[in-house]
Symmetry: C2
Subunit: 224 residues, 2 copies
């Protein structure tokens, strides 16, 4: 699985590509930064970012694009530009028919360093080590893009297992509900018995709790 990670931004947008091997082995493919001038109109800046990411997608043909999930607790002015940049990156991926995975900064830090509050230097050091690079990738946005791609390689099997478990639980619950319905019809009654109502409620609760578990970390469990 080849992953293109993007740390969205207008002034500097980090882009990194890695290839997942067996287990936790991840190979380095490429890293770079898309830039746009702060004095350019916003739409031209977004175009510069979109065009560059499009070139990377064409050149490296990833299977999935991993993008940092933007939060608004940071600087209000900056975060809007970052959100807009992440929107155009997701659009470029969708136009190329690629799925997009969003990971929060703390998910990335936790996946790469084992610590959700790790600092920039720690993340860069782990990225350098994991990918066996001779020197740390510069600037920090480039290292962050690689960290995102690594995070996706390591998180997606877990997300897949959760999705599979959720699908199984939903299937079980549906079968259960169908059987109860059938039993009710066979008994000729219009209203379910107290035992049937309890069993149906239990099946529903199981499906819901599996759903809640599958959604841990806010990730959408739909990647292979």
């Amino acid at each position: 699985m080849r992953v293109l990670g993007v740390d969205p931004g207008l002034t500097r947008c980090g882009i990194g590509v890695v290839e997942a091997g067996g287990g936790r082995s991840v190979g380095f493919v490429a890293v770079g930064v898309a830039r746009s001038g702060p004095d350019e109109p916003l739409e031209r800046r977004l175009l510069a970012v979109a065009d560059e990411v499009e070139r990377w997608v064409e050149r490296h043909r990833p299977d999935v694009v991993a993008v940092e999930r933007v939060f608004s607790q940071h600087n209000v002015r900056t975060v809007m530009g970052t959100a807009q940049a992440s929107g155009v990156v997701a659009l470029v991926a969708a136009r190329a028919g690629l799925p997009v995975a969003f990971h929060t900064p703390s998910e990335v830090k936790a996946a790469v360093t084992g610590e959700g509050r790790a600092g920039k230097a720690q993340v860069t050091a782990m990225v350098t080590k994991v990918l066996g690079l001779d020197a740390p990738p510069r600037p920090a946005d480039a290292a962050d893009a690689l960290a995102l791609a690594i995070c996706h390689c390591w998180r997606s099997p877990m997300i897949d297992r959760m999705a599979a478990a959720q699908a199984r639980a939903e299937e079980l619950a549906a079968t259960h509900r169908a059987r109860l319905e059938q039993a009710r019809r066979d008994a000729g009654g219009d209203r379910p018995s107290a035992a049937e109502q309890w069993a149906a409620a239990r099946a529903g609760a199981q499906a819901r709790s599996a759903g809640g578990w599958g959604a841990v970390g806010g990730a959408r469990p739909r990647f292979r």
Copy 2:
């Protein structure tokens, strides 16, 4: 001047087109809403919005796209999706070679109703009246998109005048500085006199104050 106004959003993205006539006359061209399902992956939703806006741009050939400037003081979850949608709308405009103008909600309300804190109903009523429509445009997102387009028609001449004034002031200041420089060289001295320094500082301050005035309302003064 034909203006395509967009009230960005993922669930409902309002799109409206108007044609500016002489003075404050504005003609209605078209209005609609792009929609995407809340259960779809984010990148597919952004794609749906981008594709629809692209179709509108191709069909109605606007001269400029006016988009609501998104602030983060609202619901954090919603605002990120709205910012991402506004990003892809700006990208679609840029790809079509069109300039994008951002107007804040209060600039739109002030332009259309004369009151920056006007309610939805008031804005819709004014849009209906200004465009001479038989019935108010529905849903509110559609009315908001038309309000944005009308706002742009009425604000852009003012923004242009400000930009022209700023350009003139900068030109004057540059001429002034060049003359002082020449005078200094003619006098054969390496260092400017106190009077020359004062005059240069004054020319700079004039240019800066004109710049500040041109930037009133946070708009980028670059529309014709």
